[in-house]
């Protein structure tokens, strides 16, 4: 399994380079990854259904107890079929969907492959943390995919919305995962499900996890990102927003429900949110004119349906849910790809502009009709079978079950109605609308659509094909005495009657579409007050304002305030610890040699002079005297290396100070000298006292033998040098030095960019000078150009 993930990764990295050479045919190459995964999964199917799921464990970060645990049970297999099976077809479709000269096709193929790999990892992961990692990888890659058209502001906005919403959910989910793993004592998913932890913490954790699932699967009130994400290229919508990514939340709920549906608020929350989503999605889908948005809201609705079925926590509902999961992947991907073909061949996907497309593209029309009928729940398609099973699951229960059933029924009526609207809008010749110009799509574009559409019919006619898989998942709820199989014909049951009524009402709703639309508009004016899309926007605005407030409060831009804050923190935090913890004992000498005292006096005088200086120049000189004084102390202590360094640094600092001083006023302003003088004095004295005390205390706080002796002993044999200081720098602590010189390089770049950026803001003439070379004055290299003058 790890090899499959590695294959995805390798092809994803290869794709940009291959794309430059192969053009859009690069998709045929990268389709290898999902295709191999699908074939492998198919080969393992027998073992999986037999209850022997393939398992693979690879150490990852043993120190943190992280490992790459992969496992494919029935539910994972079902998801792999969606992710890799449908994925392969979408990849093949891509190879003909994009224009031959599409720019950036290699990058796109790479990201799409990376997404497919992340999704595969997500459904195979048997470890909460690993699952989370893949979860976020799908968020990031989908952000790149939705924003593929990065020159379009709408795309970028949609991509950002999807990323913010799903990443927010993901982080919330991570907290939930950590809590669950803490309670269970393991992060292994199968171990947790085998012995589910209980208690209040787990109940809260589950709610947090559900937030993640809800955001990812576009449940109310997080759903608006999904319709916005339709800015993505159509294959992305077909793959991410029908078959793969939005199913991640559903998958998570389906994965956890057998063990956790009974705990806390799980069941009421999942069912309420799912039902609300189903209704909102269906209702909104009914009034869309853009075929893709219609499908997007339809997807939202169906995701709500799936959420209810797979989260309810009963065997019957789970059976129906698993069947619907498969059915939905098949029909929704078909429909999205259909819209892609229509858009590709006619240049429009507005159902008010399209007319008579069905007659011009009969093959596409048939495939799409199969899919739409499956979505509406018409026999003999897979969608019908799964909806029957869903009705069956709730029809025989008590009060709450019947309420759920009623809402599911209502949602299905809406689904039937918008399915009809889709078919009518996409294919039917409309009176008063000119027949749309169509250029015939290539067979390579149609083939995947036909295959997907036909699969829904095949599995509908022969549900035995899907039954074992679906049953195997439902068995995680335990084996019932009498197993209900998926079948096209259960006899004349109540569910069949309700199904017929669903279709009838759906047809009626479609037939009276204009009155329904105007009613929707009237209702929309009232409902518009609680528009989730608008609340997303206002949340962002609020966040921006808050950030601004905080920035204004914290980043005053005043150097004395920054410095004061840092120093006060130093005094208060470590300072109070110092006061509490230790007292100074032992013998203290005033000096080793009297000369030290003399130097100390000089340093003190210079320091006081610095503080009292009125001219900046004087202050720089006196502070330089302080530095040289300290260097003399080093000499007296017998540290030639330190002293030499200190002297040189002090000299260089002085020179650099001079450069800066030339641009500054000669004197400190009176005001800056006076304001808060008392406070500054107090802070300075406190810091001075603290540092002195810290040095005295830490010098006596030694508990272990000093490391210096070992350095002295090892310097010559190990480092090959007699100068211990240098051997420490380049050998014993070489890694530190490497880090330090890296900092130096960064600092050099920082100086250059700060100075040059400040300059280009002041004079637009110097724009574009951004490199280190810029300041060297390129005029020198060009004879004839007058050199820049020195301005005093």
């Amino acid at each position: 399994m790890l090899a499959l993930l590695a294959l995805h990764l390798a092809l994803a990295f290869l794709a940009p380079a291959a794309g430059a050479r192969l053009g859009r045919n690069v998709f045929l190459l990268v389709a290898l990854a999902p295709a191999v995964s699908a074939v492998w999964a198919g080969a393992q199917a027998a073992a999986v259904l037999d209850g022997r799921p393939p398992v693979q464990t690879t150490a990852w970060v043993p120190g943190l107890g992280l490992s790459l645990d992969l496992r494919m049970d029935a539910l994972s297999l079902l998801m792999v079929i969606l992710v890799s099976g449908i994925g392969t077809l979408v990849f093949l479709y891509c190879a003909r969907y994009f224009p031959a000269d599409q720019a950036g096709v290699g990058r796109f193929a790479g990201v799409l492959t990376a997404f497919a790999g992340a999704m595969l990892g997500l459904v195979l992961a048997d470890d909460l943390i690993l699952l989370y990692v893949f979860w976020e990888l799908t968020s990031v890659t989908s952000w790149l995919l939705i924003g593929f058209d990065d020159e379009d502001a709408e795309s970028r906005r949609a991509a950002q919305q999807a990323l913010l919403v799903t990443a927010l959910g993901g982080l919330t989910m991570l907290v939930g995962f950590v809590l669950i793993a803490q309670q269970a004592g393991t992060a292994s998913l199968s171990a947790i499900l085998a012995e589910p932890p209980t208690g209040g913490t787990v109940a809260v954790a589950l709610l947090l996890v559900l937030v993640g699932a809800f955001t990812k699967s576009a449940q109310v009130p997080f759903h608006p990102w999904l319709p916005s994400a339709m800015a993505a290229p159509t294959p992305v919508s077909a793959y991410l927003h029908a078959a793969a990514m939005v199913k991640a939340g559903i998958y998570l709920v389906a994965r956890l429900a057998p063990a956790f549906a009974v705990i806390g608020l799980w069941r009421p929350v999942v069912i309420t949110v799912g039902l609300a989503t189903m209704l909102v999605g269906g209702w909104r889908a009914l009034r869309q004119d853009d075929l893709k948005r219609l499908l997007a809201f339809g997807t939202v609705s169906q995701l709500g349906f799936l959420m209810v079925l797979l989260g309810a926590g009963t065997r019957e509902a789970a059976l129906a849910g698993a069947a619907l999961l498969l059915a939905h992947g098949l029909f929704k991907a078909t429909l999205f790809l259909t819209v892609g073909v229509i858009d590709h061949s006619t240049g429009s996907r507005n159902l008010r502009e399209l007319s008579g497309v069905g007659r011009r593209m009969p093959v596409l029309a048939v495939a799409a009709t199969l899919a739409a009928l499956s979505m509406a729940g018409v026999p003999p398609l897979l969608g019908f079978i799964s909806k029957e099973a869903a009705y069956e699951a709730f029809l025989h229960g008590s009060g709450p079950d019947l309420v759920v059933f009623a809402v599911l029924f209502l949602g299905s009526v809406l689904t039937a109605a918008y399915s009809a609207r889709f078919l009518w809008g996409a294919f039917v010749a409309k009176p008063g609308v000119a027949p749309t110009e169509v250029h015939t799509p290539s067979p390579g574009l149609l083939a995947p659509v036909v295959v997907l559409g036909a699969a829904g019919l095949l599995l509908g006619l022969a549900p035995q094909g899907a039954d074992p898989l679906v049953q195997a998942y439902a068995d995680s709820y335990g084996m019932p005495p009498e197993v209900e199989h998926l079948a096209l014909w259960h006899g004349l049951t109540a569910a069949l009657g309700w199904s017929a009524l669903t279709l009838l009402l759906g047809a009626a709703l479609f037939a009276r579409r204009e009155p329904v639309l105007s009613m929707q508009r009237r209702a929309g004016r009232v409902l518009g007050l609680v528009d989730a899309g608008r609340s997303y926007a206002s949340t962002l605005t609020l966040l921006d304002r808050l950030a601004l407030r905080v920035t204004v409060l914290v980043q005053t831009g005043s150097l004395p305030v920054y410095l004061g804050t840092v120093l006060v923190t130093v005094v208060v935090l470590p300072g109070s610890a110092l006061l509490l913890a230790t007292q100074i004992t032992g013998d203290l000498r005033a000096w080793d040699r009297p000369l030290q005292a003399v130097v100390a006096v000089v340093i003190t005088v210079a320091a006081v002079a610095t503080a009292r200086a009125h001219r900046r120049f004087t202050a720089v000189l006196t502070i330089g005297a302080v530095g040289y004084g300290i260097a003399v102390l080093f000499v007296l202590q017998g540290g030639p290396d330190l002293a030499l360094t200190q002297f040189l640094i002090e000299t260089l600092t002085l020179v650099l100070f001079m450069f800066v001083l030339r641009r500054l006023p000669a004197n400190f302003t009176r005001q800056s000298m006076r304001t808060g003088q008392g406070v500054r004095l107090a802070i300075s004295l406190a810091v001075g006292t603290f540092v002195t005390a810290a040095v005295l205390v830490s010098g006596q706080a030694r508990t272990a033998p000093p490391a210096s002796q070992a350095y002295l002993d090892q310097s010559l044999p190990d480092g090959g040098g007699r100068n211990v200081v240098n051997v420490v720098l380049v050998d014993f602590r070489g890694f530190d030095t490497l880090g330090e010189i890296t900092v130096l390089v960064v600092a050099a770049m920082g100086i250059a960019s700060l100075v040059l950026a400040g300059r280009s803001r002041r004079s637009p003439r110097a724009e574009g000078e951004t490199s280190l070379t810029a300041a060297t004055g390129q005029a020198l290299d060009e004879p004839g150009t007058p050199a820049p003058e020195r301005v005093g």
């Binding site: 020179v655 051997v727 040059l756």
Partner: protein
């Protein structure tokens, strides 16, 4: 790193500036870009005299550092001071004439050298940055102990020199405006 005359020497004596008297008294290459009244003969001559000495002293500290006071950092600072002198006496044109390279070059080279030394230790099966010591018999110098730490220290040296050059050019250029 010799004080090769800058490429701009020939075309620089245009109107508005006094004719360069580089023929009469050898002075700092590149310094002719400064206004004649602002130039100092004493300073330029002195810098010409001590520049190489300071530079060589910096290199000496780099090589001697392993056994005596010194090392790449200190050596780099001393070499940097040589360039500071050059800059003070002749402005950035003189600096450019002395080091006709982008400061990014020593910076990058130094970092590559230091990191490369660490990685080389890997190649010989050691730990990252582990020292290797070889004793070589060289014709003139006699027995020389070469340590990989010297290469690492040279990297440090170059980075420090690059930093000083970069600061001189950016901050100095800023001050000259």
């Amino acid at each position: 790193m010799s004080a090769a005359p800058g490429t701009s020497d020939a075309g620089s004596s245009d109107a508005g500036r006094g004719p360069s008297d580089s023929g009469a008294a050898p002075r700092l290459p590149g310094a002719e870009h400064i206004d004649e009244v602002r130039r100092s003969v004493v300073l330029e001559t002195t810098v010409r005299l001590v520049f190489h000495t300071v530079l060589v002293f910096g290199l000496y500290l780099l090589f001697a550092g392993h056994n005596q006071p010194g090392g790449g950092f200190v050596g780099g600072l001393v070499a940097g001071c040589a360039f500071v002198l050059r800059y003070i006496a002749g402005g950035r044109a003189a600096l450019q004439a002395a080091v006709p390279v982008d400061p990014g070059l020593p910076l990058g080279l130094g970092l590559v050298l230091a990191t490369g030394t660490g990685i080389t230790a890997w190649l010989f099966g050691g730990q990252f940055l582990e020292s290797g010591i070889r004793t070589l018999e060289l014709p003139v110098l006699g027995t020389v102990k070469a340590t990989s730490a010297l290469a690492f220290d040279t990297g440090v040296f170059l980075v420090v020199v690059g930093l000083v050059l970069g600061a001189l050019r950016t901050l100095g250029a800023e001050a000259e405006r």
